[in-house]
Structure formats: structure tokens, C-alpha cells
Amino acid sequence: MNMITLTLLLISLLNGGLAALIFFRGLKNKANFFFFLTLVATFFWIFGLGMFRMSSFENGIYWATLFYISASFCITYFLYFALFFDNKNIGKINFLNHLLIHSPNIITIIILLANFHFIKDYSLEPWGKSIKLGPAYFFYVTHIVSYMGYAIFAIIKRFRNVSGIEKTQLKFIVFGTITASIFALAFNLFLPFYTYQFVWIGPYSLIIMVVAITYAITKHHLMGIKTITSEILVGLLLSILFVNIFFNDNNLWFKIIIFLVAILIGYFLIRSVFKEVRQREHIEKLMKMRSEFLDIASHQLKTPISVIMGTASMFREGSIGKLPKEQQKKFVENIYRKSVKLSGIVRDILSASEFDTEKFSLPEGRLEPVDLEKLLIKIKDDSKEEADEKGLELNFIKTRAKISPIISDEFYLTQAIANIVDNAIKYTKAGRIDIMLDEDEKEVIVKVKDTGVGIPNEDKSRMFGKFERARNARDMYTDGSGLGLFISKEIIDAHSEASIKFNSEENKGTEFIITFQT
């Protein structure tokens, strides 16, 4: 085996390694998934090329068949990658489209296996095995060039539309991928028309791609140096063992077994390092969320405190004492109202802090079948006084005699639904609030419907966010904390197979719908 062949095998392994890296990192989206497939196909392509050079003359033709087919798939997946990379919302590609996109691959396989004017002549030249290509190769070239061209077009289009850190990261990836593609086109696709001697140069350009991507990853600390180091070590070890297999034929099986064992150990090693890195990233994210929460919470707390302190300071200084009694009363009233608000915010913040760090889960030991009818009637009774004061009608309506109990925690579930009923009362000036309970074959449904101010369209998407309040809600009732719906959603989402949503029209009313699958 000479240096060129050895290098080809190493490059194929490098591609395999990069594919594994992306696989372990998680195939988060379709672009990632197809980039992974591209790398796998590339691995087979270069590996085939290396084996083509190394194998006996008789076997060479089979390896050639492998690398031509692999390269065809490689370009196809690269096109997929580019399309998803450019537009994540490309939608579902149906089977027929997949078949259409794959049709050049299928044709390539058929013409290669049927030996239909693709490989015209196969001979042994002084510099190695040589292939003369037939007319069917033109079809192959057309496929590769058109797919590659379109893919590069899509990538560049996307690249021009991004900015900031994403652009810096992409710069290396785009540069590496495009350089590699152009080299591969030149040396593996066009030059073989004249001579087959330099077909090995194309894959070398893939080193540029791998280096560029690795650089992009390390430079921007996408994974941390620890992971990279362990990957490089494992990669090095595997490369040595892999090359060793081909050096001489002694103990071939033994070497293969050692190689496979090393892959296994490497896999577990990298996986454990990944796990650690993920945990660290998770903790960092939690810390960030916590500090954001504290920022907003402290501002929310200071707002009423500043009015209370400011008013008190004026009393102390004596200036309010000079005002008429009626005006003085107004200031006392302000202090009282802001104190009430403050206590509400403190209650909500304490309660929301349970939910602020990670996905909330219900306390498992306390889960039990909950009778929703009893729970809703209790909420209704608790809210009756408030509704009466505003002259609102508050009803509980049950449409079925028997409702299945749901598995939940009574304390949290009460909190979740009571928040919604509270809001309904708070934001309804006149009319009624209906708390409805129903069940169909699949689910138990709780609805809270009011004739209130409704949620403006522009605010709908953020209503379940932390400290979020609708525009008209702020105008109407300035003292809400914006945490109620957030808490309700967290609690409902913590149930298995439960959901909360709402329909609302401004100035007409809002209907919250909570469903629990039975």
C-alpha cells in the first residue's frame, strides 16, 4: 500500500469520524440529518476509491462501482442538506418527491450494475488501474453537476441572509464544503475523461472541509475543548488500528476484532464526554434563566415599593400633611393598593420560582385520581364573592352525569384553574363567566368562558410567557404580575397528555380550554 492509498483510507475515516461527531451531537434538524448522510456516503466514496487502488485488478471494478454509486448518493444528500439548510420550513417531502430526487441514483445503480456504457474499458496502466468512461457517464456528470450546482446556489443564498455569530460559524462551513466540492468535481468528474491517473486528488480537498468545520466548532466553543480532545484521541487510535489491518495479512481477524473493540470503547468514551458537556450547557442555561427571572422579579417588586417609599417619605417630610384631607386620603389609598400589589407579586414570584428553572413536574408521591367536579365547584365557591362584587354571573355547568377522574395533584391543579377563573373575573366588566366540565370518548374537557375584554391578536402568542400581560389588561388593571397564565400552563403541561389553549376576541370574551386525555 503506498502513501496515496493510505491517505485516502485515512481521509475516509476522517469523514466517518465527522459523521459520528454530528450523529452524537444529535440530529436536531433535517439539515443536520442530511449532512450526516452526506458524510456517510462520502466515507463510502473515498473508502471505495482507496480500496480500488489497493485491491487486485479483478476486484478493482467492484470497488469502482461502489465509489460511483456512493458519490451519486453523496451529491443527492448534499442537495437535500442544502435545501433544508436554506429553508427549514420546506415542508414535508412526499414519497414521490423523494423518489424523483433519488431517481438519478437508481439509474446510476442500474447502468453500473448492468454495465450499460458507463465503464467502457478497464485496464492496468503503468501508474495503476485505469477506467475509460462511456456515453452513459455523461448522464452521471449531468446529475452530479446539476445537483451540486443547485446545492451550492441554495447554500450561498442562505449564507447571504444570515448575520452575526451564525454567519461567522457558517463562513468556515460554507468555505470548506464548496472548496471540497469544486475540487472533487474537477478531479473526480471531469479529469477522468482524459486520464484516470489523478482521480485520488479530489478527496484530498475534503481535508480542507473537515479542518474548516472542526475549526468552526472549536473556535466558537460549540462543544468545548474537552470533547474535541477526546475525539481527536479516539480518531487517532482508530486510524492507527484501521491502517494496521491493511499492512499485512497476519492475524487479520484479530486486528479487525481489536479495531471493532476500539470503536466500541471510543463510542462510550465520546458519549460520556458529550453527556458531561451537555450537562454543563444545561446548567449554564439554567443559571441564565434564573438571572433573567431575578432581574424581572426585582423590577416588578421595586415598582410598588418605590411608590410606597416615595409617598411615605413625603408624609415624613411633612409636605403631604399640608394638603387637604381628601388628597391625603388618596395617598394613603395608594400606599395600601401598592402594598396589596406587592404581596400579590411576592406570592406569584414565590410560586413561579418553582417553575422558573426547568420543566416543572408534578410531585409523584402526591398524584392521585382527582374529582374535577368537586375541584371546580370549590374554585367557583372561592371566587363567588369577587364575582358578586363586580356584579358578574359565575356558573358551573356540567354536561354529563359522570366524569372520569384524572390523575393529578389537587393543590397544583386548583392553582392552575383558579388562576384562569381569577383572570376571567378580573378582566370582565359585565356579563358572565362559565366554568364548564365535559367528557368525550377521549378526553375530559374544562372550559372557562368569559364575556370580558378579550386578548388582542398581537398579544396572543405571548400570553403564556413569564411576566407577560396583554395591552388591554395593563390598561384595565395595572397591578397584575403577568405570572398567572405562565404558572397555569406549566402545571397543565406537567400532566401527561394534557393541554391548555384559548380562543379569544377583543371586546367579546375569552374561552380557555383545558383537556386531559383519559
Partner: protein
């Protein structure tokens, strides 16, 4: 007496500062959000603007940027009076052209009046 424009989106705060400034003989006008504040700054030519930062319609940061960009309003001194954290926002606001950064829970209304009076005297604004 000097005319002061208070841009503040909380009615209770507005009442508080109106009372204390009026009792001390100032002419105070107010705006309930940033947009109205910008209009009043242009039309009423106040001698000083007291600006809150955290406002829903238009943030105080945006208001001061626009005030300082407009030749009609760029020379009106702006004082930030807010509940936002001084350590985090003061230097940014001073860079944008604010004179001072006061936290509402630190500088009480009577002190705000006193400091405003000192500032106006120092800068010879009637």
C-alpha cells in the same frame, strides 16, 4: 419657574411627583408614554425632562435616543428616574446623554425636587 416634563407610565408615580413638584413651586407636565413624551418635549419646550426607562409603548432608552437626535430637543437636559438597576444601566444612559441616573427606591421624591433645583441653579436655568 422652570417647566419640567415627566415621562412616566405609572399613574401613581405621576400623582406623587406632580404633587411634590407643584408644592415646591415648579411647573410640571407629564406624559403617560414615550411617544406622547416626545411630542410634548417638542411642543412645550420644557427646561428639564425626567424620564422613566421601563415603559411599554416605547422604552426610555428609545425616547432619549430620539430626544438627542432631534435638533429641537437635543439641548433639553434629561434625568433618568427609574426602578431599573443602576449598576447595569447608568453608564449606558449617561453615554446616551442623560445628566443623572436616579433609582426611585434610593432618591425619594423630596430629594428629587432638591436635586433638580440644584441642577437648574447650577446650570442657570430660571
Amino acid at each position: 419657574m422652570a417647566k419640567i416634563l415627566l415621562i412616566e407610565d405609572d399613574n401613581d408615580q405621576i400623582l406623587l411627583y406632580h404633587t411634590v413638584f407643584k408644592m415646591n413651586g415648579f411647573n410640571i407636565i407629564s406624559a403617560i408614554d414615550g411617544k406622547i413624551g416626545l411630542d410634548r418635549a417638542k411642543n412645550e419646550h420644557p427646561d428639564l425632562i425626567i424620564l422613566d426607562l421601563n415603559m411599554e409603548e416605547m422604552s426610555g432608552e428609545e425616547v432619549i435616543k430620539r430626544l438627542k437626535k432631534n435638533p429641537e430637543t437635543k439641548n433639553i437636559p434629561v434625568i433618568i428616574l427609574t426602578n431599573m438597576d443602576k449598576r447595569k444601566f447608568q453608564s449606558q444612559m449617561l453615554e446616551l446623554g442623560a445628566e443623572y441616573f436616579w433609582e426611585k427606591t434610593v432618591v425619594m421624591p423630596p430629594d428629587v425636587v432638591k436635586k433638580v433645583r440644584d441642577f437648574l441653579e447650577k446650570n442657570k436655568i430660571k
